[in-house]
């Protein structure tokens, strides 16, 4: 066979194979596009979770469950079924989230319930208005919040959040659990445990507690700080920021454990 004949035969085979590949790819393409979109949404939600954790947990809680007195839950039934009607928002919930997060909230719509960071209640998040987040990050965080829907509507039973490993047989260990459960972590930083910034850093509180108020021991002072925060307001912080309700929401035993835990922060 002459070389050119061989080339003609092989060339024809290659062209036919190429066409076959294109046809197969073309048939599969709609499915691929659909799969990619699902995958893309999953990645967006994952990304949104990380944005949420770095920016939002200090007010809305580590699992978006909200913090009493600070900011509302973003995963409860009320938020998913009634909230947009309540504020008179015309479009969908996801758009509502994007819009609120983009601009922030100068004043809370429910000031007696959620004060947030004061004024503004929630800062502006969009880069466009001086915030730290890009548009795609805001859309991702909205996608993440929307993904709580099965929990919020009760379609799937909620899984109890995990707590750090501590020795729960000691009061200090139990106290650490209470610290996280009661949401103290939202406002207070303790190295290695929490990152809240609204209240003072509690590292070393076990030492300074004894010197805060004359006549009160460290134990008594911390007890007072928890059940009656306004009795002594730490310098540089506004009165009334720390919720006044812990005396009712926590049992005496839990408060004792908390105190034991805080006293270990020397």
């Amino acid at each position: 066979m002459k070389r050119v004949q061989l080339e003609i035969i092989l060339g024809t085979v290659f062209v036919l194979l190429s066409a076959a590949i294109m046809i197969v790819l073309g048939i599969r393409e709609p499915q691929r596009l659909a799969d990619y979109e699902v995958q893309q949404r999953a990645e967006e939600i994952e990304f949104g979770a990380s944005v949420f954790v770095t920016n939002c947990t200090r007010c809305h809680g580590t699992q978006a469950q909200g913090i009493t007195g600070i900011a509302p839950s973003l995963r409860d039934n009320h938020f998913f079924t009634q909230r947009i009607a309540e504020v008179g928002w015309g479009a969908g919930l996801e758009d509502y989230i994007v819009s609120v997060v983009t601009t922030g909230r100068q004043v809370s719509t429910r000031p007696q319930l959620y004060v947030g960071g004061g004024t503004p209640a929630m800062p502006t998040w969009s880069e466009k208005f001086g915030g730290p987040l890009r548009d795609d990050q805001i859309r991702a965080v909205a996608a993440f919040i929307m993904n709580f829907e099965p929990y919020a509507l009760g379609q799937v039973p909620t899984v109890e959040p995990l707590l750090p490993v501590v020795d729960e047989s000691t009061p200090e260990g139990r106290g650490q659990v209470v610290f996280l459960q009661a949401g103290c972590n939202a406002c207070h930083t303790i190295s290695g445990l929490s990152t809240g910034t609204i209240g003072p850093v509690l590292d070393g509180v076990g030492l300074r507690a004894a010197t805060r108020v004359e006549g009160l021991t460290a134990e008594e002072y911390i007890h007072q700080s928890i059940i009656e925060p306004s009795a002594y307001v730490v310098e540089g912080y506004a009165d009334g920021l720390m919720p006044q309700t812990f005396a009712e929401t926590l049992t005496e035993e839990q408060i004792a454990d908390l105190i034991a835990f805080l006293l270990t922060l020397q």
């Binding site: 393409e29 596009l33 979109e37 979770a49 993904n147 929990y151």
Partner: protein, 577 residues
């Protein structure tokens, strides 16, 4: 009336119509083919000899614009496959692939930082054949880089840069630079972490230059940091300026070959004793029409098929990392692999090498003087801005340095050895340029990174969703053979109902790898007082949060240290093994 029309249009009597129409068609065909009649076309396709004299197939080359860029013929021996390997040809092929796919991508791509990444996602998820176009463009770019390097090596080893081809070589070196710059500017466009940081690191090289260095950096980036201005500059260079420059230089380069000095004859033909017969055969003309053209159509079919087959079998996939984030420097910034040699070179610090060589000598001789070159020489400046342009100049100067007239390999042992040495140097430098080489990462960070890199898959991300079981798994504790004996699932119930996995082998393997490497590092003294755990939490109905967490005390200062990284694993995220 009819007669008037007939006269007006020169229509012959009815019995002459056949030949009259035939002639008219033939005339049109000659105009379109720039000189070939229908009969001639038929002969071309059938491989018959020319039907007219002078040979009308040569006429095409003078009259047609496209064809005039092509050679009339090549001597048979210079078309030997083992002489050129069609490397230059395939470089051109890839350039054309890039142009075609690039124009399509341009329709969808938006060159602004807040939309660029989204438009790439759009191409991948919402444009029919969008992923194919993007992958082909990216693969074609790598092909063009590879083939232009191989083509350079071929012309070097066959000594084709000598004699009348010195200028061709020079334009070739320029084409190599243009190719590199095209791929570098294109690298930024997806605006993901990979793109942003590779280009930030790349452009920062100019910063070390004296006087104009920082200005040059600003000129490229459009601002101190790459932003809207920088992206637009890179985009315009990538889609307009450098394609035009490439077309210009490819034309010059190719015109030299095609119309001036032809492809070199293999040195065995020109420089060794061969029979008259062989000589005649070697110089036999291989005409453009039809032989070279038919061969090129064959090459196009191979090239297209190879590209499509690679993409069909997913042997190549364009990377797309997370959105560019100027605030978060990734642990490993990755230049494209064909720039690793440059990155490797930047890891060399010539000043300290010289110091380490010279200062011990001073000490031996008893001179108290110590050379302190590092204070004078900025290694980034030397290795980034002095050496690479020097190498390019060296490459350009090769035809003028190598004055040996022979192109036969056995007559130029030095040039061949020198070429091979450079191939090895570039490979060694590339190895040094791999992201991990010579970069110390603290053990805890490295171990977690190996488990789950910031970008891409890694064993942790590949754990099947069904195996994720909420829990805190403490390193050093004994969990038996499996972390979740109470778990069972069917990996793909549609295909195989009977396939049931008991427990969580993948999660267990990841935890074991995590534990083993940490305990190893602890035993080696890198992580004293190790306290580590793998935390798996269900965050949402279809998403888990996995946090490898490590605490230790600093081996030197004794300070308490901690490192952790959080990963989110959504059920719908594809996990390809």
């Amino acid at each position: 009336m009819l007669n008037a029309l007939r006269q007006r249009f020169n229509i012959p009597p009815r019995n002459e119509w056949r030949s009259w129409i035939g002639k008219m068609i033939d005339e049109r065909v000659r105009i379109i083919t720039a000189g070939l009649s229908i009969k001639e076309l038929r002969a071309v396709v059938r491989g018959d000899p020319p039907t007219e004299k002078p040979n009308p197939r040569y006429k095409v080359i003078t009259t047609s614009f496209i064809a005039h860029l092509r050679p009339r013929y090549y001597p048979a021996a210079s078309t030997w496959f083992t002489h050129t390997f069609r490397l230059g040809w395939f470089t051109t092929f890839f350039f054309i692939v890039e142009t075609l796919t690039g124009v399509i991508l341009m329709v969808y791509y938006i060159p602004f930082p807040d939309q660029a990444y989204g438009s790439i996602l759009e191409i991948e998820s919402n444009v029919f054949f969008g992923e194919l176009m993007r992958d082909a463009h990216r693969l074609g770019a790598e092909g063009m880089v590879i083939f232009s390097w191989l083509h350079l090596l071929r012309t070097y080893f066959t000594g084709s840069y000598k004699g009348p081809r010195t200028f061709t070589w020079l334009t070739g070196v320029l084409l190599l630079l243009i190719t590199a710059w095209l791929s570098f500017t294109g690298y930024l466009l997806p605006w993901d972490q990979l793109a942003y940081w590779a280009v930030t690191v790349g452009t920062s090289i100019t910063d070390s230059g004296p006087v104009v260095g920082p200005a040059l950096n600003i000129l490229m980036r459009g601002a101190p940091d790459i932003g809207t201005g920088g992206l637009l500059r890179f985009y315009l260079q990538h889609v307009i300026l450098f394609p035009l420059i490439a077309i210009l230089f490819i034309s010059i380069h190719y015109y030299k070959v095609a119309r001036e000095h032809s492809i070199s004859l293999p040195a065995v033909i020109e420089e060794t004793e061969i029979t008259q017969e062989e000589k005649k055969e070697a110089n036999r003309r291989i005409d453009l029409i039809p032989d070279l053209l038919s061969h090129e159509i064959f090459l196009i079919s191979i090239g297209t098929f190879a590209l499509l087959a690679i993409l069909y079998f997913r042997l190549f996939n364009s990377p797309l990392e997370t959105h560019a984030n100027p605030q978060a420097t990734p642990l490993d910034t990755k230049a494209p692999w064909y720039f690793w040699w440059l990155q490797g070179m930047l890891k060399i610090d010539p000043a300290s090498i010289i110091e380490n060589l010279v200062n011990p000598l001073f000490e031996m001789v008893g001179i108290s003087f110590r050379l302190e070159l590092s204070k004078l020489l900025n290694s980034k400046f030397i290795m980034g801005l002095v050496v690479p342009p020097g190498l390019v100049l060296l490459l350009m100067a090769i035809p003028y340095i190598d004055r040996n007239p022979s192109r036969l390999a056995r007559n130029r042992p030095f040039a061949i050895a020198w070429g091979l040495a450079w191939v090895f140097i570039v490979i060694a430098l590339s190895y040094m340029g791999t992201p991990q080489y010579g970069i110390e990462t603290p053990p805890a960070t490295r171990i977690i990174q190996d488990l789950a890199p910031e970008e891409g898959e890694g064993p942790l991300r590949l754990i099947p969703y069904a195996e994720l079981q909420q829990g805190i798994y403490v390193v050093g504790e004994d969990y038996g053979d499996d972390l979740c004996p109470g778990l069972a699932y069917q990996p793909n119930p549609e295909e195989d109902v009977n396939n049931v996995v008991i427990g969580c082998p993948h999660l267990t393997a990841v935890f074991e790898q995590f534990s083993e490497r940490l305990l190893e590092a602890e035993a080696e003294g890198g992580l004293p007082d190790l306290n580590a755990r793998l935390i798996v939490e269900q965050l949402q109905a279809n998403m888990f949060r996995v946090t490898p967490h490590v605490e230790w005390s600093d081996p030197i200062t004794g300070d308490a240290k901690a490192y952790e990284h959080t990963y989110y694993l959504h059920e719908d995220r594809a996990r390809e093994e």
